[in-house]
Symmetry: C2
Subunit: 255 residues, 2 copies
DNA sequence: CATTGTTCGTTTGTTGGACAATTGAAATAT
DNA sequence: ATATTTCAATTGTCCAACAAACGAACAATG
């Protein structure tokens, strides 16, 4: 017979795994304050420094959080925490615009369709406000990209599907720089914004009517327009995304 | 007027950010060996402990790696590293089977369709082998779930879209425990496996013919079957997934 | 009375130095 | 040439200490 390889883990990893298990098992719930580093070190029978290394790991996966200098508490990992890392992975793997677009071509129309049956009045109002703000931004000559991004997030949230939200987030984060180049380009800056806001408006109307198929179809057209604009601007669909174009930075932590 | 919040970061975070920037800027490339902890500490002018905490952060995001006890080197973050964390986030947010299924209903048929135009001979052979192995497992009464998971991964890889691969990975990881319960259930264990392998076979044929629409359609049917089985087994679509059902564990690291 | 300064105990952030365990490679013996 | 045995380098862990920041309570100031 033969023994399997032993899973020998460094102590700091054992520490983080142990705390993680308690959280996932529900014995520690979101919001609970964890013991201090010194107490944890005493309880585990290790040095405080080892505990700290374990905590760094947990922080990174979003399971625990600390407002700098203050006590540690259990948190629910939010997709916002994970999306930047996914985006980075895609950048480093030289993912192309075409790949991102293909995925969005599946997820965005589907999000619109699901949203049609589930959207509530509050979010519908937010979407309407977003469309108006976009029109104002166009006449004012301001950037409409943050508004566009916000529009799509609102639709995805209205779809009431957190798995969908999680799947689309890193993809659309990477669209950001591409969008900027697109709308600065002379060939697309003329009609592009008008077509965009027209599509947005139609989608909102369809959502208000609860018409899933119309919502899906206009979102699909909207995405096709996006790709066409990319073509028209002379950008290469199969080129890796700009590695320097980092995703929008998170606000500095409270301290 | 008002000042913006100061971005005061702890030293270990500055350390990890600094190294991260070098990697993302391409001045450090995958495979490069980093200086030793002591050297890093000297260069940055901080203690080795501080450097170590920074390293823990980088390791966690997959940018650097170390085979236990050995030197640190730059690595390309792989989605395989990130998917488990996404799955965990979904579990903690009490994502339901319905949400996962909706996303898969978009991504899996689309993956099949894309694969139809892009699959190569080698992967096609792997898929054929997978289907045969699945049939053998059925007659032998063994579990077909690992084979099913492998089948879908193969199709997704054949689609030649890394963003798609990344988006679907955490979702299907969470299907694993649901699949197990499904195929152990008396009502589905009788015909379920036969229908599954039939669908798989049709999909492979369509891929071999390069027929995207047939591939998409059979994958869609396959996914509908999955959901129907879930219903038939009397499981609740809108119940949160089992938090104890952890995603399959990674093999222990070499040491 | 609202704001500002002071004090104090608690907890995190950082430093110093130390040593065991492991690894990779060089040196030695077979 | 192949094992085996050193040996220096490097990581993993520990111990002890102190600076920095925070929360709260309270005094001082205008």
């Amino acid at each position: 017979m033969a023994f399997a390889r032993l899973a020998i883990l460094p102590t700091y990893k054992v520490v983080s795994d142990t705390i993680e298990r308690e959280i996932l098992a529900g014995r520690l719930n979101a919001g609970d304050i964890l013991p201090t580093e010194t107490e944890l070190a005493d309880q585990f029978g290790v040095t405080r420094h080892t505990v700290r290394e374990g905590i760094r790991i947990l922080e990174q996966s979003g399971l625990v959080r600390r407002e700098a200098g203050r006590r540690l508490y259990v948190a629910e990992p939010h997709y916002g925490d994970l999306a930047p890392r996914l985006s980075r992975a895609m950048v480093m793997q030289r993912v192309t615009f075409r790949e991102l677009w293909e995925v969005s071509m599946d997820l965005e129309p589907s999000a619109a369709a699901h949203a049609a049956g589930r959207i509530d009045a509050s979010r519908l109002a937010q979407l309407r406000a977003n469309v108006e703000a976009t029109e104002e931004a166009i006449t004012a000559g301001a950037s409409i990209i943050p508004l566009d991004v916000a529009f799509h997030i609102l639709v995805a949230e209205a779809a009431g599907n957190r798995a969908l939200l999680l799947a689309r987030e890193p993809v659309t984060q990477l669209f950001y720089p591409a969008l900027e180049r697109l709308f600065r380009h002379p060939k697309t800056s003329a009609v592009g914004p008008r077509r965009l806001v027209e599509a947005h408006r139609r989608i909102v109307e369809a959502l208000a009517d609860g018409d899933a198929e119309v919502a899906r179809e206009w979102m699909r057209k909207h995405m096709v327009d996006f790709r066409r604009g990319y073509d028209t601007a002379g950008l290469d669909l199969d080129e890796a995304l700009d590695p320097t174009a980092a995703p929008p930075a998170a606000p500095p932590p409270r301290r």
